[in-house]
């Protein structure tokens, strides 16, 4: 069941019909050697890692799954299946192990050991929780958020290293534990209460007969607590302004049922709502009191009790805000219920305090393509994909470490018009792809039944996510063009379509390489270096017109109707965005030491635009690092493909050959696999290579317009892109096919 890369039709059907789960992912290998389980009083939470096939770039995926503790047998069977799958494959590697934590780790330890037949290692519960939380804060982007009814899910930048601490963790499970965490692995249980999730569950099960915790939360949504609670207004007939109580404040939970004169008619749902408020309010108050006593401002709420349930988060946030008079904020986590299990999983790999203080962060990305649990709450939970490489921020990024940098230019969650446009655009684009796949016009489509089925599965999957995002913009975290494009790539990978443009890229690259010698001869003929460089910069933009991602140009490209000269002729150059000449003058007068160029598309873009530009810089003595996606996305060139291209060009062209031989032309993977660019999350090897770079060049709409449009650098930077999309152009006050050629001096230079 787990395991084998399963791409049969049945699996695809399952994805299509919406019952897809993590178990059929084609890009996973099945070997699971370690499973962490956190067995609480109410729920057992399982975390495990699957490795991604090295052929697909390596890395891995962290999975999350929860069971009711009452049906622990199901949980044990699940774990057994996971570990048996791992063993069954090759019988190699380390002996499988279960890392158990939580109260039930002791109680069910023997059962686990006997039924699964593997070693069970027990980890301390609170140690695990804090390890898990520190891990999530440090490694997972967009994990932490605040909540308010009118402002759901505001994501909070968390700081890696020392700045993360101290914090307080309020873990709401069956009971409530309050921990003060002062550093990696350093924590103290400072308080707690036994009035937690177990209490709510026990009371509501008895009072309403609900059968599951989720059912209970669902029920509370439609409830009205004012029908069972005694409100301040019920007592005073209005506000009690003198002591700051509003008529709508709760005077006493369940107090309304004491007084028949109030004539309160109520349903089980009202009771559920009331008791949910009672527990949340009370926990919030106790949390605040602890934070106040210990002088801590960051209060994280965790534990499976919350489950991304809006009324719970709202009440906790309200309580913290109310009691602290707005001085503290309640912080929530997308993976709130899995702190213990996550921490237990990484218990033996917990970084030392020294390592944690490093800049390394956000090595995991949440993947929603096949969400592990499609719950009706705010926080749909994705799996966490581990990047094959450690990701760190570009050293030249201004405020990269302090969290002020936001890669996305537009927050689609907060802009309904832009959101509607982009969701619709993605839908159109997807349907277009599906049509091309169906009629065989997608280059590289092998016409096989399998490929067609995968394409259909992709379409169903992605369109379903788009619909959901249209209704619930923050269901998957911050909403941006980057997120939408990233999700599309994730969906494609998820159904086993790892590189649908492979053939298109190959063809375009061949065509472009054939034109290269002519183009080089033409540009080399321009004698004044500054004029030559200016032309080369403009050619980068011309090359960038060749983009399958731009709906407006796809027809022309597919028809082969776009040649390089024609592309260049279509570009318009608004003066305020055209710094080509200034850059050329500056760069030729005082050549840069090292330039990092974030490249975009394959074909004409990289071969005819970027490569001649890089060749010129290298000839001037600048060391050029070409940074390309580590894994495929759209028709973007990958680092592997680019290295190959450079190698081929070097054979024929002395300039490129010499630059390469002299170490002045290198290719490096960014660590990314999306059409946009988050400069906080770059392969640490690239960042190390660019440590002394004094020029950052970013090419393409996805990397320089949808993202990084406002990014500032300590060194000089050049952003090169063409507005190939009407909405993006409108948003920037530009016209379609306007060139963006912005040269900025570095903040540390000027």
């Amino acid at each position: 069941m787990f395991g084998n890369i399963n791409s049969s039709g049945a699996v695809i059907d399952e994805i299509e019909s919406g019952s897809a789960s993590d178990i059929v992912l084609p890009n996973q290998t099945g070997r699971v050697q370690k499973v962490a389980v956190d067995i609480g009083g109410s729920l057992a939470k399982v975390v495990y890692l699957t490795a991604t096939d090295a052929a697909l770039g390596g890395g891995g995926r962290l999975h999350f799954k929860a069971f009711e503790t009452d049906s622990i047998d199901g949980c044990i069977a699940f774990i057994k299946q996971l570990l048996d799958g791992g063993r069954g494959q090759d019988g190699q590697g380390d002996a499988p192990v279960i890392v158990a934590t939580g109260g039930g780790a002791h109680r069910f330890g023997t059962q686990l050991r006997e039924q699964v037949g593997v070693e069970v290692r027990v980890e301390d519960e609170m140690q695990s929780m804090t390890t898990g939380l520190s891990f999530l804060i440090r490694e997972v982007e967009d994990e932490v958020f605040t909540y308010a009814q009118d402002k759901p899910m505001q994501f909070v930048s968390t700081c890696a290293g020392e700045d993360m601490f101290p914090y307080m963790l309020v873990n709401i499970g069956s009971g409530v534990s309050i921990l003060k965490v002062t550093g990696e692995g350093q924590y103290e249980r400072i308080s707690g209460t036994s009035l937690g999730g177990g209490t709510l569950w026990g009371l509501l099960h008895e009072l309403t007969g609900v059968r599951s915790f989720d059912e209970m939360l669902e029920m509370s949504k439609s409830g009205d607590n004012t029908r069972v609670d005694m409100m301040v207004g019920d007592i005073y007939g209005g506000d009690y302004g003198k002591i700051g109580l509003k008529a709508t404040n709760i005077a006493a939970t369940m107090g309304g049922v004491c007084r028949t004169a109030l004539g309160k008619q109520h349903t089980a749902a009202d009771v559920a709502r009331s008791l949910l408020y009672m527990v949340s309010n009370n926990v919030g108050q106790i949390a605040y009191l602890n934070a106040q006593l210990h002088g801590i401002r960051r209060i994280y709420f965790g534990g499976y009790f919350i489950r991304g349930h809006p009324p719970t988060m709202h009440t906790l946030s309200y309580a913290i805000d109310f009691w602290s008079r707005g001085q503290m904020r309640a912080l929530f986590l997308r993976h709130e219920g899995f702190l213990g299990a996550t921490g237990a999983f990484f218990a033996d790999a917990a970084p030392s305090a020294k390592a944690a203080a490093s800049r390394r962060r956000h090595s995991f990305t949440e993947n929603f393509s096949v969400a592990q649990e499609q719950r009706a709450h705010v926080a749909a939970l994705g799996a966490l994909d581990r990047q094959p490489a450690a990701l760190v921020a570009l050293a030249q990024l201004v405020d990269g470490a302090a969290g002020a940098y936001v890669p996305d230019t537009v927050d689609l969650a907060g802009d309904a018009a832009q959101r509607a446009y982009w969701v619709a655009a993605m839908e159109r684009n997807t349907r277009g792809l599906l049509r091309m796949a169906a009629d065989g016009s997608l280059p590289g489509g092998d016409g096989s039944r399998d490929a067609a089925q995968r394409m259909q599965a992709f379409g169903a999957l992605y369109l379903r996510h788009l619909r959901r995002l249209g209704e619930q913009p923050t269901a998957y975290g911050p909403m941006s063009v980057r997120a939408l494009l990233g999700l599309r790539e994730q969906c494609l990978h998820e159904v086993g379509l790892h590189d649908i443009f492979a053939e298109a890229k190959r063809r375009e690259t061949e065509a472009a390489l054939a034109q290269l010698p002519g183009l080089l001869a033409e540009t080399d003929a321009v004698a004044p270096p500054a004029a030559r460089l200016e032309l080369l910069v403009r050619n980068v933009l011309a090359g960038n017109m060749f983009d399958w991602g731009a709906a407006e140009l796809r027809g022309a490209i597919a028809a082969g109707a776009l040649d390089f000269a024609a592309a260049r002729a279509r570009i318009t150059w608004p003066e305020r965005l055209d710094n080509a000449r200034a850059f050329a003058a500056h760069a030729t007068e005082q050549p840069y030491r090292r330039a990092v160029v974030f490249v975009d598309n394959s074909g004409a873009d990289v071969c005819l635009g970027v490569l001649p530009f890089a060749r010129f810089l290298a000839a001037q003595g600048t060391c050029v690092v070409l940074a390309a996606n580590s894994r495929p996305a759209l028709n973007d060139v990958t680092a592997g493909e680019l290295a190959d291209i450079v190698g081929r060009v070097a054979v024929a062209d002395a300039g490129v050959r010499e630059a390469r031989a002299g170490g002045r032309l290198a290719v490096c993977g960014t660590g990314s696999s999306g059409p946009c660019l988050d400069l906080r999350k770059l392969d640490e090897r690239l960042v190390a290579l660019c440590q002394d770079a004094d020029l950052v060049v970013i090419v393409g709409m996805g990397r320089a317009i949808h993202t990084n449009y406002r990014a500032r650098f300590t060194c000089d930077s050049l952003k090169l892109a063409v507005f190939k999309n009407q909405m993006a152009a409108d948003a920037a006050g530009a016209s379609i096919y306007d060139a963006l050629c912005v040269f900025e001096r570095g903040s540390a230079v000027a």
């Binding site: 009083g41 109260g103 039930g104 002791h106 109680r107 069956s174 009971g175 209460t193 036994s194 009035l195 937690g196 999730g197 177990g198 209490t199 569950w201 026990g202 009371l203 099960h205 008895e206 009072l207 069972v228 609670d229 005694m230 301040v232 019920d234 007592i235 005073y236 007939g237 009690y240 003198k242 002591i243 700051g244 109580l245 404040n249 709760i250 005077a251 006493a252 939970t253 369940m254 107090g255 309304g256 049922v257 004491c258 007084r259 028949t260 004169a261 009771v271 009672m278 309010n281 009370n282 108050q285 106790i286 009191l289 602890n290 106040q292 006593l293």
Partner: protein, 392 residues
């Protein structure tokens, strides 16, 4: 209100009512010997010598009503009602102000707020006619007093003088304990009625609400009412005390870890991990649930109040409010203070609740904060309303 100063002097309120969310507390105060109509507060200030003999005229209907019920035999008092007569020795108010050595008689009548309308009709019906001396002033407090003011004033022919509820409680408490040596200021009052208010009181009786909670007395009773067969608060508390085992309804550390492992990891197996976590168990009694609910509410109360005391840097906390009501009339009790530790071994409803709260405070403060109980915990609002109004 168009009473002249003189009228006000002659019509000092002797009746205080506290209309809470759940209960109405009425207090009628007078001196024992003369049956003076001067209130307790009048006594604190001055003693009128020309008070008429009560036999000389008809009582006001509302006074008659209270007299009637508080004089009645316990089994004649309606279910859910409490009536008691407390005789207290007068005391020295300040070093240079010795007042009467006569006793004070307090007549206390408590009934559910839900019965208020019915009670008002009863009083209105027995209102004496011609010989009636006119409207009297009633010191009123409690959220419900505002709400029902119009009804009460018109139907009972009284003038209600409103006193801020928290002021009434703090003033009632303050005038009750101010001469006790054990009191230090600021004092922290934890008033538990329907809900919970925590009040800081300074040495002059000034007060501030510093915290509160919606998890209070009515939460206990509201849940108990829905989850058990008990029809009255008293019955519920007594059953919880006599036959209830909270550990059967609460999830204990032992339930999670197993008794053996609990020992191994050094946690008491009977420590509560989740209140009421096993409320849905099969072999559980209503008394068990009542005991667990009481433990949940008082434990939480204790935790909140200990935090508050620590934040204020003080070593004791006073519990007041209807939740700690005394049901056994301690006749001729000395005015002053009593803490749970020296309360009578008799398992009165009040002492059961008090003990539970004491345990919680001891638990959360590791014995460092002392829980204290005012003798008239449940009627401080009504008393304080009279006192506060008369002091103005």
């Amino acid at each position: 209100m168009s009473l002249s100063t003189q009228e006000k002097e002659t019509q000092r309120p002797t009746i205080g009512i506290d209309v809470g969310g759940t209960l109405v507390k009425g207090a009628l105060t007078h001196l024992q010997d003369s049956l003076s109509y001067d209130s307790i507060v009048v006594m604190l200030v001055t003693e009128s010598e020309n008070t008429p003999n009560p036999e000389d005229y008809d009582r006001h209907a509302i006074e008659s009503f209270i007299l009637r019920w508080t004089s009645a035999k316990p089994d004649e008092v309606p279910s859910g009602w409490q009536a008691q007569v407390i005789r207290r020795k007068s005391r020295q108010i300040s070093k240079d102000h010795v007042v009467s050595d006569k006793g004070i008689v307090l007549r206390i009548l408590v009934f559910p707020t839900a019965n208020l309308e019915q009670v008002v009709s009863m009083i209105a019906a027995q209102r004496p006619s011609e010989r009636h001396i006119g409207r009297i002033r009633v010191a009123a407090t409690g959220g419900g007093a505002l709400r029902f003011r119009h009804d009460l004033e018109t139907k009972l022919d009284i003038d209600m003088e409103m006193v801020n509820e928290l002021k009434a409680v703090s003033y009632g408490w303050w005038s009750d304990v101010q001469d006790a040596d054990t009191v230090t200021y600021p004092a922290l009052l934890c008033n538990v009625g329907t809900g919970v208010s925590m009040i800081s009181v300074d040495k002059d009786g000034g007060f501030e609400r510093v915290s509160g909670s919606g998890l209070g007395g009515a939460t206990f009773w509201g849940l108990a009412k829905r989850m058990t067969k008990f029809s009255s608060f008293n019955e519920c508390i007594l059953a919880a005390h006599r036959e209830g085992d909270a550990g059967r309804a609460d999830t204990l550390v032992g339930d999670i870890y197993g008794v053996k492992t609990s020992k191994e990891i050094g946690m008491p197996a009977d420590l509560v991990a989740g209140f009421l976590g096993k409320a849905d168990s099969e072999n559980i009694t209503d008394s068990d649930i009542a005991a667990a609910l009481l433990r949940m509410v008082t434990n939480n109360l204790g935790q909140l109040v200990v935090f508050q005391a620590r934040a204020m840097g003080i070593g004791s906390v006073w519990f007041t409010g209807g939740f700690f009501q005394q049901h056994v009339a301690d006749v001729n009790r000395d005015a002053g203070t009593s803490s749970a530790s020296d309360s009578a071994p008799v398992a009165s409803v009040g002492s059961i609740v008090q003990n539970a709260a004491s345990e919680a405070v001891n638990f959360w403060s590791a014995g460092k904060i002392q829980p204290l109980f005012s003798p008239d915990a449940s009627i401080l609002g009504a008393l304080g309303a009279v006192a506060a109004l008369s002091s103005e």
